[in-house]
């Protein structure tokens, strides 16, 4: 087997040195009744060529598209070639967690730079070396807010937050009988201020608001921050499309106390939803409650600057049942992709890409509204996603798009009954004008409903 260093000569030499006749003799520690005394009922080993063929055939059973107009938490962006090239270096992708700093300065310095840039994008002061994804970052943010608030047990969640993030929140809050998750209603496609004010109380630790929200709308964090802070609670902005940070002001500068969400857009493809990149940035005063790994500067014995994992006492391997979280890993390689992306883009690149995304989405919306079947819903400012009502039949629309190798937007009614018949569309810098025109022409040809 090509990955095993076995040969009769070598195997024998090892066994002789150990002093046993065969490997079986080393298994006495496993009681005989517990042994599996048959082969695993699975296919036997295969050559590289055979496996490659089998996996390629499997991959080809996915439908491929010329263009995907679907966002909803996973965005199709251009990935610069430098990223794959750098990340394929074995020193980056095979390396272990940097617990031994003297032999891991590459990873540690990269993470320090990454942390710096996430703070820059969010306008907050401290962040960790990443969390698993957008949904779980909301969980960590909410639990952290409860720890910071000390005697408050309620977290308010805007209905505009990604529906699957809300499900992950529910699942993770369920074991905490003393904690409450309460939904705040939407009005005109954004968080309903009146409903929020009605639900704010002395027991609310934090309020989670999408920025932009799942429907693509830009929520006014500054307007929400006032009543939230007056009630002594924390405002947590949740951003599922990190490109928005090139378009919208940093949440930390417009009233957010914590910013979390999904940064997969920075250098990744949709990848069927993972591995993605959760982030959580907070104020300096709260840093000791921050879950996850954190990298800090340190000096060595010769006063030279280096980097180490720090504030480790909060983590599971020391704190055990009193840890801020059980999280043991970060998204490692995905942070590297994001870091490289942000450095290649720079301030002008991030702003420029964001402007292009906004332009493409506005153009798509404008052209769609020229179709008789499409109708505007609300009139909120949006970034690269928006909602339109479709008076036709979604399955007919979907079939027509598939025929042209186009993946349409999301049928929203499945997640928001009040938006039955609406579609969530996304356009990014990847969508050329001709692709957009092609989509619109395709929709124009969908047979009208009887």
């Amino acid at each position: 087997m090509r990955y095993l260093p076995s040969s009769p000569v070598e195997d024998q030499a090892l066994l002789d040195a150990i002093g046993v006749p065969d490997a079986e003799a080393l298994l006495k520690g496993i009681p005989e009744p517990l042994r599996l005394r048959r082969e695993l009922e699975l296919p036997t080993q295969s050559a590289e060529q055979e496996v490659a063929w089998q996996m390629l055939a499997m991959a080809n059973r996915n439908t491929r598209f010329c263009a995907q107009f679907l966002g909803a938490g996973a965005y199709d962006h251009f990935v610069p070639s430098a990223i794959d090239a750098l990340v394929s270096r074995q020193e980056w992708f095979t390396a272990y967690t940097p617990y031994q700093p003297e032999i891991s300065q590459g990873t540690l310095q990269h993470l320090f730079e990454y942390q710096t840039l996430i703070c820059d994008l969010t306008g907050l002061e401290v962040t960790n070396a990443s969390l698993y994804d957008g949904g779980t970052s909301c969980v960590e943010a909410a639990l952290m807010a409860v720890r910071v608030a000390k005697k408050r047990h309620t977290v308010l969640v805007s209905r505009g937050l990604h529906p699957l993030y809300r499900e992950v929140l529910q699942t993770n809050f369920a074991p905490h009988a003393e904690l409450n998750l309460i939904e705040v209603a939407l009005k005109d496609g954004v968080t309903d201020l009146a409903d929020l004010q009605a639900k704010l109380s002395g027991d609310v630790a934090a309020v989670l608001v999408g920025y932009p929200n799942f429907l693509g709308a830009v929520e006014d964090l500054a307007a929400l921050a006032g009543p939230i802070h007056a009630a002594g609670a924390l405002l947590v902005s949740v951003t599922q499309e990190a490109f928005a940070f090139g378009w919208l002001e940093a949440p930390g500068r417009v009233g957010a106390d914590m910013a979390c969400g999904e940064a997969m857009s920075l250098g990744n493809k949709p990848s069927f939803g993972g591995p993605f990149l959760g982030f959580l940035a907070v104020r300096d005063a709260h840093k000791r409650e921050l879950p996850g790994r954190v990298v800090g500067q340190a000096k060595d014995l010769q006063e030279r600057l280096g980097y180490v994992l720090t504030l480790t006492a909060r983590e599971q391997h020391i704190r055990r049942d009193k840890a801020t979280s059980n999280i043991c890993s970060n998204q490692g390689l995905v942070t590297l992709r994001a870091n490289i992306f942000m450095q290649l883009a720079g301030p002008d690149g991030l702003k420029g890409l964001a402007a292009q995304n906004a332009a493409k989405a506005q153009f798509l919306r404008q052209r769609m509204l020229e179709l008789p079947e499409m109708e505007a819903v609300e009139d909120q400012p949006f970034f690269n996603e928006f909602v339109l009502r479709y008076r036709g039949d979604y399955s007919a629309l979907e079939a027509a798009c598939l025929q042209e190798s186009l993946l349409p937007g999301l049928d929203l009614g499945r997640y928001y009954p009040e938006y039955q018949g609406c579609i969530l569309w996304c356009a990014t810098e990847l969508h050329s004008r001709s692709m957009i025109e092609s989509l619109v022409e395709t929709l124009a040809r969908v047979p009208a409903t009887v």
């Binding site: 080993q45 991959a59 320090f112 820059d120 074991p175 998204q331």
Partner: protein, 514 residues
């Protein structure tokens, strides 16, 4: 391996006007600015202005300050740092996988659903447990999912159990997980051989009595929701009374969770589902060769017994088998089943770290049933070879047979005032990544070595020769170890000041230095 010069922070390379990315021409009208004024992006304080060359050089140089699995043995106990096959990377990079969208209709991502189904089938057979979810993003996430399954199970039977039993040798994620799931943790003492003690254990110095499994089950009975047990345990020894432990817990209605971090010693030899485990997690980034990536991403699938299946996270993949077609074999279609009223919900936004699942299935297909078993046996042989070569020079704290890892203690070196930390740092000078140190806590000055099956005899000998050399150094020139590493790019770092006065990001200097 190491570069001589220090590569500065990228921010120090930033020069106004440089760019690393060109934007495509905008072929639609510019966006109208619909943003409220105060929500318009202002500036950035740290994003650097550098060229693509700067970035490529930066990350290439930085990489040379890292140690990877391709550089040599990575003897980290409990981490299973085995070879990361390049085929796995090639397959994971196929555009048909990387372009696929998680919210696309399931009819359009049949290849992905087939992958999920197939990997699950492999894990079912390997573990002997019929229920599987691939959603958890890491081992710790898998632990939490598994414990939440236990919780849901008890709630469905109208029971509010409040305790989880965890051995003192367990990984820190175990009690952290139990606490996150709302449970109280009660510790199980270990016997001198590292396995769970049924009997009470009296501390020889303080005289304090720690209740063993027998007493705790008798006293707490129906309050126990379950136990989280690593097997083989964290000193590499198989919990030989596992079936008895499981039977005892089952007798009071408690469930058994197995931490599968050490599955590299079991695949093909024993199946957790056969020896009393109700639910467990696997670490794909350990046993199944997916890369460590400098700390992630991992994947922590959970496998469970039939009685826990209703509670698995949604959605669950279902295979519909169509008719056998002449000459074309059986056609299958796959769909997601979201209609699971007893499900605990979702533990990941989408379906888990899919890119990692692709790599793991590729690993399985390459090895096959025979290759997987051969890998397990070789991992055990390699660990025992190291044990035999080092056991005179290093103290074996626990005498039981080792499976895939061996734990030494620094007792012999302590006589010369040399400790585990010094030995670890000195290994760096010799060009190796240190083994796992100071874990598990039940072994003082633990030095845990797991070579994995990837190491050939030459590599093992080179490593052992070095370890023996260090043992000699400890006797003859202990000062060299106290000051180690001397040859790495940096000496030992002041972690105290880093924690007292944390500097966690770069900030533009406010005033230029004089």
């Amino acid at each position: 391996m190491f570069l001589r010069q220090r590569e500065p922070l990228i921010f120090e390379r930033s020069v106004p006007g440089k760019r690393g990315m060109d934007l495509p021409r905008l072929d639609v009208p510019e966006a109208r600015d619909t943003r409220p004024g105060h929500l318009r992006r202002g500036g950035f304080d740290a994003l650097p202005e550098v060229s693509e060359v700067d970035v490529i050089r930066h990350f290439t140089r930085l990489s040379k300050w890292n140690y990877g699995v391709d550089d040599g043995i990575y003897p980290l106990g409990s981490c299973t740092m085995k070879h990361n096959p390049r085929l796995n990377e090639r397959v994971a990079g196929l555009p048909a996988f990387t372009d696929s969208h998680p919210m696309a209709p399931e009819a359009l991502v049949q290849g992905n659903l087939e992958l999920v189904y197939t990997l699950q089938a492999w894990l079912q057979e390997i573990t002997g447990l019929p229920g599987v979810t691939l959603q958890p993003s890491a081992g710790a996430a898998g632990e939490l999912t598994g414990v939440m399954l236990i919780r849901a199970y008890h709630l469905s039977r109208g029971a509010q159990r409040r305790v989880i039993l965890i051995p003192d040798s367990g990984h820190g994620t175990n009690p952290a997980t139990a606490a996150m799931a709302g449970y109280d943790v009660v510790e199980l003492p270990s016997q001198p051989d590292g396995t769970i003690s049924f009997a009470d254990v009296t501390d020889p110095t303080s005289g304090k009595v720690r209740k063993g499994l027998q007493t705790l089950v008798a006293e707490l009975g129906p309050e126990i929701a379950g136990a989280m047990i690593t097997n083989p345990n964290t000193v590499g020894v198989f919990e030989y009374r596992f079936k008895e432990i499981s039977d005892l817990l089952h007798s009071v209605g408690a469930l058994v969770y197995m931490d599968g971090a050490n599955m590299n010693a079991l695949i093909g030899l024993a199946r957790p589902g056969d020896f009393g485990v109700d639910v467990m997690h696997l670490n794909l980034h350990k046993t199944f060769s997916t890369p460590h990536g400098g700390g992630g991403p991992g994947a922590g699938p959970v496998c469970c017994a039939e009685k826990l299946r209703p509670f698995l996270p949604v959605p669950v993949v279902v295979r519909e088998t169509e008719e056998v077609r002449e000459g074309k074999g059986t056609a299958h279609t796959y769909r997601w089943d979201w209609d699971r009223p007893q499900s605990i919900g979702k533990v990941h936004t989408f379906f888990g770290n899919f890119g990692i699942l692709v790599r793991a299935l590729t690993y399985c297909l390459s090895h096959g049933s025979d290759g997987l078993k051969a890998a397990t046996l070789r991992a055990i042989v390699n660990a025992n070879y190291i044990r035999v070569r080092l056991q005179g020079a290093y103290a074996l704290h626990i005498d039981s047979p080792s499976l895939h890892e061996v734990v030494f203690s620094d007792t012999l070196q302590a006589k010369h005032e040399v400790h585990t930390l010094d030995i670890a740092k000195r290994l760096i000078d010799h060009g190796y990544h240190p083994p796992t140190i100071y874990f598990p806590l039940i072994v003082p000055g633990a030095l845990m070595i797991e070579p994995t099956e990837s190491e050939g005899k030459e590599e093992l000998d080179a490593f052992c020769d070095t370890m023996l050399e260090i043992a000699r150094e400890a006797e003859e020139i202990p000062a060299a170890l106290h000051h180690a590493p001397i040859l790495a790019p940096l000496r030992r770092l002041d972690e105290t000041t880093a924690a007292r006065k944390p500097v966690l990001r770069w900030q533009k200097p406010a005033v230029l230095p004089a």
